[in-house]
């Protein structure tokens, strides 16, 4: 099938020169002869990155400081990188919520199950749509692309899910977001760039599409799979609206973010009147609680990220071996 013309590959992988020990390290390892231009470039680049990092980091560290500071005291402003009135109260308030453990477990479960299933299924769809011989690839793609821009609205969606029996159920965390069009497009773009010869030779050997997808294509896509999985995982981890909308009355299906939202809206007295103030005497403030909640919820992803980052690099190495 080598006679078939290929579209321009996404990556430089059409260049089949044997790659040994491919990785980010080698890329710069070879550039030992630095020209004057290189030195200027590197210096400017480094300076830029340092400024950039400070710009990003300072407000974040400030937020961490606020999260360890007394809430009312923090309202006075002027906190920089160290807490002025140190307290763990904000964290105690956030973590001290009674069903935090249940909520964290559901959050972890939905993130793991949701991400794994979504990534696998979406990759399969991307594979189907990346098959150039597939007759309906255009129509099916379009069907999914449109979903990024249309939305039936809160109530119709609720009615549909309710009739599918998804309310009061864990499945509502997994099924509705199973095939994000964005992820599909990213995966498909990458797969389009893979050499056709890979699948074709396997097909010659009598392998079916599912086999090719699982055995050949999926492993080759590791960098982009890692990216898509990261996006999905963050989305799953951060979402709370579905927990509130569909599983409000079921405490066993609550999620971490929903519990945090509840905590926040109980300290934020939006639309409050004199009477609602009765049961909400604030010793922590929305600002301090928000800071603590942000730190707590971003932590797992921050810890997870370096592992995923590895895949961005390792993905190609595996691909190279397979090839």
């Amino acid at each position: 099938m080598a006679e078939l013309t290929k579209t321009a590959p996404a990556s430089g992988m059409e260049n089949k020169s044997p790659s040994k020990g491919v990785g980010a390290n080698t890329k710069h390892g070879i550039m030992s002869r630095r020209t004057k231009g290189d030195i200027i470039f590197d210096t400017l680049n480094t300076i830029f990155m340092i400024i950039f990092t400070i710009t990003i980091l300072y407000p974040l560290l400030n937020m961490v400081a606020v999260s360890f500071n007394d809430g009312l005291d923090a309202l006075k402003g002027g906190i920089t990188l160290v807490p002025r009135v140190f307290t763990l109260k904000n964290y105690e308030t956030v973590l001290g919520k009674q069903n935090m453990f249940t909520a964290a477990r559901v959050s972890v479960l939905r993130t793991v199950i949701g991400t794994v299933s979504s990534t696998m299924v979406t990759a399969l769809l991307a594979y189907i749509l990346s098959r150039k011989e597939f007759l309906f690839k255009k129509q099916l793609s379009l069907l999914y692309v449109i979903t990024m821009y249309v939305n039936g609205g809160l109530i119709p969606v609720f009615l549909v899910y309710k009739n599918l029996g998804l309310t009061n159920s864990f499945l509502v965390y997994v099924l509705p977001g199973l095939v994000p069009a964005f992820s599909m497009l990213v995966l498909r773009t990458y797969m389009n760039g893979l050499p056709d010869s890979l699948a074709e030779s396997a097909m010659m050997d009598g392998a079916g599409h599912l086999t090719i997808f699982i055995k050949i294509i999926f492993p080759l896509c590791m960098p982009v799979i890692a990216t898509v999985a990261l996006f999905t995982a963050v989305g799953q981890w951060n979402s709370w609206f579905d927990a509130m909308l569909y599983n409000r009355m079921n405490g066993d299906l609550t999620t971490l973010q929903y519990e945090l939202m509840k905590l926040l809206s109980s300290v934020t007295n939006q639309n409050s009147s004199a009477d609602t103030m009765k049961n909400t005497q604030a010793t922590v403030t929305p600002t301090s609680i928000r800071a603590a909640a942000t730190v707590i919820t971003s932590l797992p992803i921050i810890i997870l990220y370096p592992f995923l980052q590895r895949y961005f690099v390792a993905g190609l190495t595996i691909g190279g071996v397979k090839e």
């Binding site: 309202l75 409000r248 639309n271 922590v284 929305p286 600002t287």
Partner: protein
């Protein structure tokens, strides 16, 4: 290909079927089966089964822990408890809209601003058909008051929970709107009698001139105007107060003709905004005032550098707590009852009013309406009321030989600690409750209405200020509130307006024009030109005289008629 088409057709049909099923099921009926129960362990170690009801309140609120001490104690006494959920990250209309569409409700709902839709959708069961056996509910309001609550079909579906005074009002704080001023400013000025807007700003101007900074060098700010979204009442609604009218919120109601008057364009409004404009140019008003959001506003107040502002006390309570926490006791605020001219009697403080537009109701999904009625009835039992509002004797308060409740410092601290509250206290805040006195006739309904408790909490500068003015409470700094008029408060009407109706549309347009032009008026170089521009846009975009005021008039008349039993 054909197979594909057939498959597609099939899928489409399936999809449509699901969509159709969705519409047929909007009037869901309650599940069959018995009321949910739960086992509660009493103090003596016995276990009892209690009924567990569910409730949703479409306002932000605080969720209690499971096994909340007072909640369980109440459950043990009355054999029932209620799990409550609150509004989170949604508007009340959205949350209620979804519930109505799904046709399933918790046993109790307070729909807040979604109330009209709930009643409309037939989601509540009538209470008045059952209440003969539940006297605490039936007698919660007088017959006349119930009449104002009745829906168009003559039934009572909701019970407004708040503002029902037992015996007499005992509140010591002015939790409402006022021009506030720091006690340090008043002290510096020698506690003058301040009667008018001009005098109010005069004191601040002189203070700022003499004291440009605080002790630590932070510049003082003369005056702040919060105008973040719905909180822009701090900018816009002072004119009717300055004219000596109470907080009807959306209009002035002429006490003789019973006609609504638009306060946005009155001569008083012009004088008020002109004053703001002058003070802005003089630098008394914070130049950042119109760009700050609520968080920034609270932060600025918290530093203690802001001399004064108009606001509702509950709106800046957080800021005042921070001032106290920082030990800046002379920077807390007292209300200054002023009007536009000295001969006008101000009316900032009002008695609590019955807000008939909101309340808690029992929904059609409730499987045990009698039990639900009994639950609410029991919650109004004097013994239970004390448990809801004060907590447990010996734990949350002590009872003296004379029957007076007192609290130790630790008890007070606990009552302010959110984690302690969640684990221990259960006010059932959105179920019917009394304010004013406790049923024992000795104590206030809760610690905030207990004179002894109130005095304990006052700081020295505030006490000194109170002495200078010869008062004992915040409330006394304003004129005593006269009897509420039958139409009061009109905001319960304007809050319920929707853009579906012409008057609701005008109401929305009005807000939009005022949001855009009033800040411009305040900072304009040429006040008169800016004011004229505001007036002309206002008149062009909002037909207040033709549509809105007649609607207000009709509502005023309706309320008067109901009060007179017509």
């Amino acid at each position: 290909m054909k197979q594909i088409k057939r498959a597609a057709a099939f899928t489409l049909a399936l999809a449509m079927a699901i969509g159709m099923a969705a519409c047929g099921d909007t009037k869901g009926s309650g599940k069959s089966g018995n009321q949910k129960t739960e086992t509660v362990t009493t103090e003596s170690g016995e276990t009892v089964d209690v009924k567990v009801f569910s409730a949703f309140f479409a306002v932000p609120g605080n969720e209690l822990d499971d096994n909340n001490v007072v909640q369980d104690a109440i459950a043990e006494k009355i054999g029932a408890k209620c799990d409550m959920t609150w509004l989170t990250g949604q508007t009340a209309e959205e949350a209620i809209g979804v519930m109505i569409a799904g046709g399933e409700y918790p046993d109790f709902v307070d729909a807040s601003s979604g109330m009209a839709n709930m009643v409309d959708a037939g989601a509540f069961i009538p209470i008045d058909t059952m209440w003969d056996e539940y006297p605490n509910i039936k007698n919660f309001y007088t017959e006349e008051q119930w009449n104002t609550i009745r829906a168009e079909d003559g039934h009572v579906y909701i019970i407004p929970q708040f503002g029902n005074i037992w015996d007499h009002d005992t509140t010591c704080v002015h939790n409402d709107e006022a021009f506030w001023m720091q006690t340090r400013v008043l002290k510096w000025a020698g506690y003058p009698e301040i009667k008018t807007l001009d005098e109010y700003f005069d004191v601040i101007e002189r203070y700022i001139e003499a004291n440009p900074t605080m002790e630590d060098g932070t510049p003082n700010i003369g005056y702040e105007i919060l105008c973040d979204d719905w909180r822009y009442f701090c900018l816009e609604n002072a004119p009717f107060f300055l004219d000596g009218y109470p907080n009807d919120g959306c209009c002035i109601v002429d006490r003789d003709t019973h006609k609504a008057i638009d306060y946005n364009t009155t001569p008083t409004a012009k004088r008020y905004f002109q004053k703001l404009n002058e003070e802005y140019k003089k630098g008394i008003i914070d130049p950042e005032t119109f760009t700050m959001n609520y968080d920034t506003y609270i932060s600025k107040l918290s530093t203690g550098r802001v001399c004064g502002m108009v606001d509702q006390h509950w709106d800046f309570n957080d800021g005042e707590l921070a001032i106290k926490a920082a030990g800046l006791d002379d920077c807390t605020y007292v209300p200054v009852g002023i009007a536009i001219d000295a001969d006008i009697e101000e009316h900032w403080h009002s008695n609590s009013a019955l807000d008939v537009s909101n309340g808690v109701g029992i929904t059609v999904s409730c499987e045990d309406p009698e039990g639900a009625m009994k639950f609410m009835n029991d919650l109004l039992d004097p013994e239970i009321l004390t448990m809801r509002n004060w907590g447990l004797e010996g734990v949350n308060y002590n009872k003296g030989d004379d029957g007076v409740f007192t609290r130790t410092d630790e008890m007070r601290k606990n009552a302010d600690d959110q984690a302690y509250i969640n684990a221990n206290l259960c006010p059932y805040a959105y179920f019917p409750n009394y304010s004013g006195m406790d049923h024992d006739g000795i104590n206030g309904c809760d610690a905030n209405h207990q004179a002894t408790e109130f005095y304990e909490s006052l700081s020295e500068p505030v006490k000194e200020c109170f002495d200078a003015y010869g008062v004992k409470t915040y409330v006394e700094l304003c004129n005593p509130a006269p009897e509420n008029e039958p139409w009061f408060p009109m905001w319960s009407y304007s809050n319920a307006l929707t853009t579906d109706t012409p008057e609701g549309q005008v109401w929305a347009d009005m807000a939009s024009v005022k949001h855009e032009y009033l800040p411009k008026v305040c900072i304009a170089d040429d006040f008169d030109a800016a004011w004229e521009e505001y007036l002309s846009v206002y008149k062009e975009k909002c037909d207040v005289d033709g549509i809105l005021l007649p609607a207000f008039d009709a509502e005023i008349q309706r309320r008067i008629d109901i009060a007179e039993g017509k």
